[in-house]
């Protein structure tokens, strides 16, 4: 037994007894090697909660404000929880948006565009991933180019083109490019599919070819069903982005009864501005709950979809090899 000078025997024994416990406690708190300790975990958790608040706050604010009556709004003691659930704002927004009509149109266009894009981009991505032909690399560069061209740069010629085709105020400009693998972020989807198909073993196609399947059969019966994770990611993104799409539709569709929900929301705001700007005392806070209710109505269907699909969605992203 080696005793240190100047330290009494009992203190030394205490230290001997305490040391392993101290080390154990330290490894729990501070972590050891690659394992993180409780302190690190707590810090991560606090950081995550604070960042999450940034995202949740506006949504909670929207939900709480749209339920407030004018009385609640001007009452400084009421910040989050309205005294009663005041449904009038929702009703007003509902009427102002012509909600059912707008919803029908938005769902209709978004569904068709999504289906078209999901399939057409898969076809192009498959071609780029699995075949060799002259000029392939150049063509793929063009896919990238398509991705980075700002819509503002080409919107005028597109407008003239669609006018020539007689497509203004129809849904064709929002659907036909999608059928050909272009349209809203089409190149991004082609790139995602290409990455996915590149990662699949070549032997699948070879085996099918030996069994006498032709290229289209191979694509439709073997490769596309394999690509389920990619299909899920692309279709969800595509649907959400088409739902929210604002710029191009607002350029090509001026008839109010063909507006999508997002466009209608903008219209609702303009209407409210016009009504309340006439009156110099018309506080914008008066219209705020109606606007919030409108925003809620526009985003609610997609939020519901998101919370249903969220689990598969995150899993699929990990399996698509989105970035490899």
């Amino acid at each position: 037994m080696n005793t240190r000078p100047g330290v009494s025997k009992s203190a030394d024994a205490l230290w001997q007894w305490l040391r392993p416990k101290w080390l154990w406690l330290r490894s729990i708190l501070m972590g050891r090697g690659m394992r993180s300790g409780l302190v690190a975990k707590a810090i991560v958790l606090i950081l995550l909660i604070d960042v999450a608040l940034i995202y949740v706050h506006p949504i909670l604010y929207m939900l709480s404000t749209m339920m407030m009556s004018t009385l609640d709004l001007v009452d400084p003691t009421i910040r989050w929880i309205p005294t009663e659930l005041y449904w009038d704002n929702l009703v007003k927004a509902f009427e102002g948006l012509e909600y059912w009509r707008g919803l029908g149109q938005t769902v209709f266009v978004a569904l068709i565009a999504t289906a078209a894009q999901t399939l057409s981009c898969a076809v192009a991505g498959y071609g780029f991933a699995r075949y060799n032909f002259p000029g392939k690399n150049l063509l793929f560069m063009l896919v990238f180019l398509t991705f980075i061209v700002p819509p503002q740069t080409i919107v005028i010629p597109l407008y003239l083109l669609y006018r020539e085709f007689g497509w203004l105020n129809t849904y064709f400009p929002l659907i036909v490019p999608e059928m050909l693998g272009l349209g809203l972020k089409g190149s991004l989807f082609i790139i995602i599919y290409r990455q996915f198909f590149l990662g699949q073993p070549q032997s699948l196609e070879e085996a099918a070819r030996l069994d006498g399947a032709n290229s289209l059969t191979i694509f439709a019966r073997i490769m596309l069903p394999l690509a389920k994770p990619a299909v899920l990611v692309v279709s969800l993104f595509s649907f959400v982005w088409h739902w929210n799409d604002y710029y191009l539709p607002s350029m090509f569709i001026s008839h109010q009864d063909k507006w999508s929900l997002v466009r209608r929301l903008q219209g609702l705001q303009q209407t409210l501005d016009e009504i309340y700007d006439v009156n110099p005392y018309g506080l914008s806070t008066m219209t705020e709950p109606v606007r919030m209710a409108g925003a809620f109505l526009v985003i609610a269907p997609i939020l519901i979809l998101y919370f249903i699909a969220q689990r598969w969605f995150t899993e699929s992203i990990e399996r698509t090899g989105l970035v490899e």
Binding site: A52, H57, V149, N244, G294
Partner: protein
């Protein structure tokens, strides 16, 4: 030998068949409008009820954009300054959040669900509505008035872009949805065995982050940066979009001028992307 060659030719023809729909679409909806707008940018466009007339004006539109216009250059400079501040914020923020969610913490799936919310909202007009009405607050930054402290500490010339970005700080963070996804997916590509090996060699988490995670993430960080620049340049909050639109339907300047502005804008973004890509992807020789 001959049969094999023709087989290869047939394969490449089939491959071409798969690309064909996209290629047609590309020519109609991308190449043609691009060429057309390039042509328009050198002309003055007069739209009448029955026809559109183009008068060739050479570089006049481009010259006017920088020397005659008193809105465009200012807005462009503001846009560049804001982007120079926003892009790093978004990239670093998504990197941090990606790393944090990748940690094994309690409630991970709830956090994931929340952090992907921007994917839904960021392209939406809804979020502008919310922020216009002041729903953006709530982070510690606003509560402690960090904004004013920061702005006061900065030199005069940086004041305005920084204050614009900061006033929309949470909005900037809202545009990082897909970026977080990219980082998260990238983190999955790093094999766990690398970390185990490093742990055996006595590396802590801190070293592992700097020596393993960050170098492995580098190409993906470049990718995220590229994506962010593209997103910012087409986002609905973009001030350049408003400028171009205003000119498009203005009687004084017209579509030819708007097309020229569109091309200047596009060229600028292209240059930015090329710079980011070449700088980010250049070979780094370690050791």
């Amino acid at each position: 030998m001959k049969l094999k060659l023709s087989l290869a030719a047939r394969r490449s023809l089939e491959g071409f068949g798969f690309i064909m729909p996209w290629l047609i679409g590309f020519f109609v909806f991308m190449a043609f409008p691009l060429a057309y707008s390039l042509y328009m940018s050198f002309t003055e466009v007069q739209v009448t009820a029955t026809s559109i007339n183009f008068t060739y004006v050479g570089w006049a539109n481009y010259v006017h954009a920088f020397l005659g216009d008193n809105v465009f250059p200012i807005e462009l400079m503001a846009f560049i300054q804001e982007s120079l501040i926003s892009v790093p914020i978004i990239v670093i923020f998504s990197l941090l959040v990606g790393l944090l969610i990748n940690e094994d913490v309690w409630g991970r799936s709830i956090f994931r669900a929340i952090f992907f919310l921007p994917v839904i909202f960021s392209t939406s007009q809804v979020i502008t509505t919310l922020f216009d009405l002041g729903a953006g607050g709530g982070s510690f930054i606003q509560r402690f008035n960090v904004f004013n402290m920061l702005i006061n500490a900065l030199p005069e010339s940086l004041n305005s872009p920084v204050s614009v970005v900061l006033s929309r700080f949470t909005l900037v963070l809202w545009s990082s949805g897909v970026q977080i996804l990219l980082i998260l997916a990238a983190l999955k590509t790093i094999s766990n065995t690398v970390y185990e090996a490093a742990a055996i060699d006595g590396a802590g988490r801190w070293e592992a982050f700097w020596k393993i995670t960050l170098p492995a993430l580098r190409p993906f960080i470049v990718l995220t940066t590229v994506y962010t620049i593209v997103e910012l340049s087409v986002s609905p909050f973009n001030r350049m979009l408003t400028v171009i639109n205003n000119n498009m339907f203005s009687v004084r300047t017209g579509m030819g001028y708007a097309a020229a502005l569109g091309w200047i804008y596009f060229a600028l973004i292209l240059v930015a992307l090329v710079v980011v890509y070449t700088v980010g992807m250049r070979k780094v020789y370690r050791y």
